[in-house]
């Protein structure tokens, strides 16, 4: 799960796979023949410009929208077409775009809601402890209303909440969005920490440089099509990438 990356991972079975997925909103095609695979313990990022279909990819995985063709396979079983509740229950959890905490509830309640589908009280308590150890700031504010936290603190709670589900795959939608530059660094530190816990992470980012610097592999998507799929190192070196996404000429 650390070095070796791609080669090592490819021998195993992917934990999450998109096979020729097409997703429509009404008549508008947003994802076109998308193929992706994420292997256990990997950290994969999904890059792309505005409205390229990044969030839609995550929504398709989580069952907010059902693909019009193709399938999403999780843990060896087709999950496309199943309800979000069912998909979450099987072990996918998401840190939504803009954090979207339950603002009127306390930080503690937010964390507990993350573990809503779990019945194993002792294990939940263990994970709670793990989250509090990972984010000490969260522990200091358990009784505070989540809506009153600062943006950076909210991001930590959002991640903690997603971790409380003890997911097999953790989806993140633009965790650095709307944060001041120092906080962006902090968020990527957190993602690194989560990664070092051995989690499988699939993260959508606009901040390509940062994302590639911590990911194993990356996909690049343009108007709903996967246009590049490679290891992070190769993507960072790719001239096309450098021009289009990494802000260099």
């Amino acid at each position: 799960m650390m070095a070796g990356k791609g080669a090592d991972a490819e021998e195993r079975k992917p934990v999450l796979e998109l096979r020729q997925v097409n997703t429509h909103y009404g008549l508008v095609a947003v994802l076109r023949d998308v193929d992706m695979a994420i292997y256990p313990g990997e950290m994969v990022c999904l890059l792309g410009g505005n409205a390229s279909g990044k969030s839609t990819t995550l929504k398709t995985i989580l069952g907010y929208v059902t693909p019009s063709s193709g399938e999403v396979v999780f843990d060896g079983e087709v999950i496309s077409g199943k309800s979000t509740t069912e998909i979450v229950r099987r072990g996918v959890s998401m840190v939504p775009e803009n954090r979207r905490l339950f603002g009127d509830m306390t930080v503690e309640e937010n964390l507990l809601l993350g573990a809503y589908t779990r019945t194993d009280k002792a294990a939940v308590e263990q994970d709670r402890q793990m989250v509090l150890d990972t984010f000490p700031v969260v522990g200091e504010r358990l009784k505070q209303k989540a809506g009153t936290l600062s943006g950076g603190q909210q991001q930590m709670v959002a991640m903690g909440r997603a971790l409380m589900a003890n997911p097999k795959v953790l989806l993140m939608d633009e965790p650095s969005m709307g944060l001041a530059p120092i906080l962006v660094d902090q968020v990527f530190e957190i993602i690194k920490t989560i990664r070092s816990l051995g989690r499988t992470v699939f993260v959508v980012e606009q901040n390509a440089n940062m994302a590639l610097s911590i990911a194993d592999r990356g996909y690049v998507i343009q108007t709903g099509r996967v246009v590049l799929a490679d290891t992070a190192a190769n993507l960072l070196a790719n001239p096309m990438m450098r021009e289009a996404y990494l802000g260099e000429l």
Binding site: L62, Y64, S83, T84, T85, V88, R89, S93, M94, P96, N98, R99, R100, L101, F102, G103, D104, M105, T106, E109, L112, L113, G114, Y116, T117, R141, K143, Q144, K145, G147, T148, S150, G151, G152, Q154, R161, A165, G178, L179, A180, L183
Partner: protein, 597 residues
Amino acid sequence: MPAPLARAWKPALIAGIVVVYVSAVGLIEQFAEVYAIGTQVSLARVLLLLPLFLAGWVATRTTVERGERKVLAMPQAALSGAVTGLVGGAMVSIVLLAVDAIDPDTIGEVLIAVSTKLLGIVSFDQSLGTGIVLWLVLGAVVGALGGVVRALSPGARRVVLAGPLTIGVLAILQRVVSTAIKELGFRPDFLYDSKTSGLTWAGGIAAAVIVTLAVVGRDVLRSRPEAAAAPAARPAAASTGLGGFTTRQLVQGAVAIIAVLALPWVIGTALSGTVGTVMIFILLGLGLNIVVGFAGLLDLGYVAFFAFGAYATALLTGAQVNTTDGAGDPAFSLGLNFYVAIPIVVLLAAGVGLLVGSPVLRLRGDYLAIVTLGLGEVVSTLVTSKWAEGLVGGPQGMRDITGGDIGPTDFQNNPRHFYYLALVFVLLALYTSWRLQYSRVGRAWNAMREDEQVADAMGISTTRYKLLAFATGGAIGSLGGALLAIQLGSLTPRSFDVNVSILALAVVILGGLGSLRGVMVGSLALVGLPGFLREFEEFRPLALGAVIIAIMLLRPQGILPNVRVTEDIADEDRDQDAWARAAAGQPATETSAVEPA
């Protein structure tokens, strides 16, 4: 603009509008001869001046300027309050002059409550000129009082307000209190003037002094060291354990229980009836609170469950339908005992909840409201229709409904007995609501209300929880209907029109969405008050409208909001944070995007 004026104009404007409003709708004239104390202070006059007091109070709030909390010193507070009161008084004066210039009776052709007589009342029964001078002077004085009271320390404020509040409550509850005194075998003459029905000066002042002394005494006892931290610990709100009550809590609990049990014997038969009706609306409020307050589903057709509970009880216990020539057996009826029928009614109502709930599951907000409004109307129309005559009597309704009596009780004819029956139902519903609120289910509802999509992502099956809300809410509402059937012994479809839905919703919103105590307070205010204070009765719809608008504007969380124990800092401090951030040049987007509504 000078500082006091800058703060004053808005509250003053609102106060002026309120004064003109309560006058124009006839409330003032109605209360002109209802005396609070002596013959000088009528409720009308209190009602006229109270808005200015509150305006002075509001204008004197602490503000945050340039990162510093500005607490007004006493002279400034008095000044700011006085200016506010003065501006408010001036506004009323301008309206008075305008009305006088146009001729009140001409205006009266459009606004029927406006008349020369009303103009006189609003001018404090003086000539217009004197009236205006009085408005300016009294406005300034009352506003200044508001400001001064606001600037006092919380402890001092309690002491100062205790007396006037006592007089206010005693005046409003004159019927209740004087009946209670009579029931206890005394004559209420020392407290209430038998001619004016208002408080006597001697009685009122004595009562005010006693209560003030009691408050002072309590504060002195509390001010011992360990009690200093008391404000932080909300009384009993959070204690959930069975044991571990302090002696104090036990004593308070015992007093409360005795008060609740003794109530009907203290307030007399007639008012017990009113309280019975209040309790029926508490049930409706508690049920609707689950749907709207907990789960966030705006249901405007809640009357359907009320009607269902009432008619189902009637049919299951074997009532008669009214026909043009007397009474007849309905098309379907069972002769069940009331207590056997009740669980069946509740279960069936839960089923109806699922039925109503499933077609509207995908609807949100406004659409849900409109569709449920329609469904409610369908139910009202159905029970009124000719088609349903054979089953529920159609427009004629039903009669001979069981009294549900056990042994010597007489629920239908003795409101005191009915009170206890209703009490049992209310306690059941309260306990259910309370358990639900702090359970897993309650948390899921909460999450769903705040953000349905994210709730889904937590693995909460929002479809199931919506249905569950409709089912439990419906079940509790049907209990209210069953009680109504017992209380009246007969039913007419007129009792089940859209007004019930609206009143129930008002009860929930007034008290604070999601708050159980709020439902009780809301019911007492909207259903009980008109019973206690007859003059209020015909103004209920108007008051409802005004109260709801005011609440939505000023206090969207209700009178007694569902207090969740959190440790976030007060709004004022947050303003300060926002200011500090802005000053440091950081973007405000970071928090503004997530500020709770």
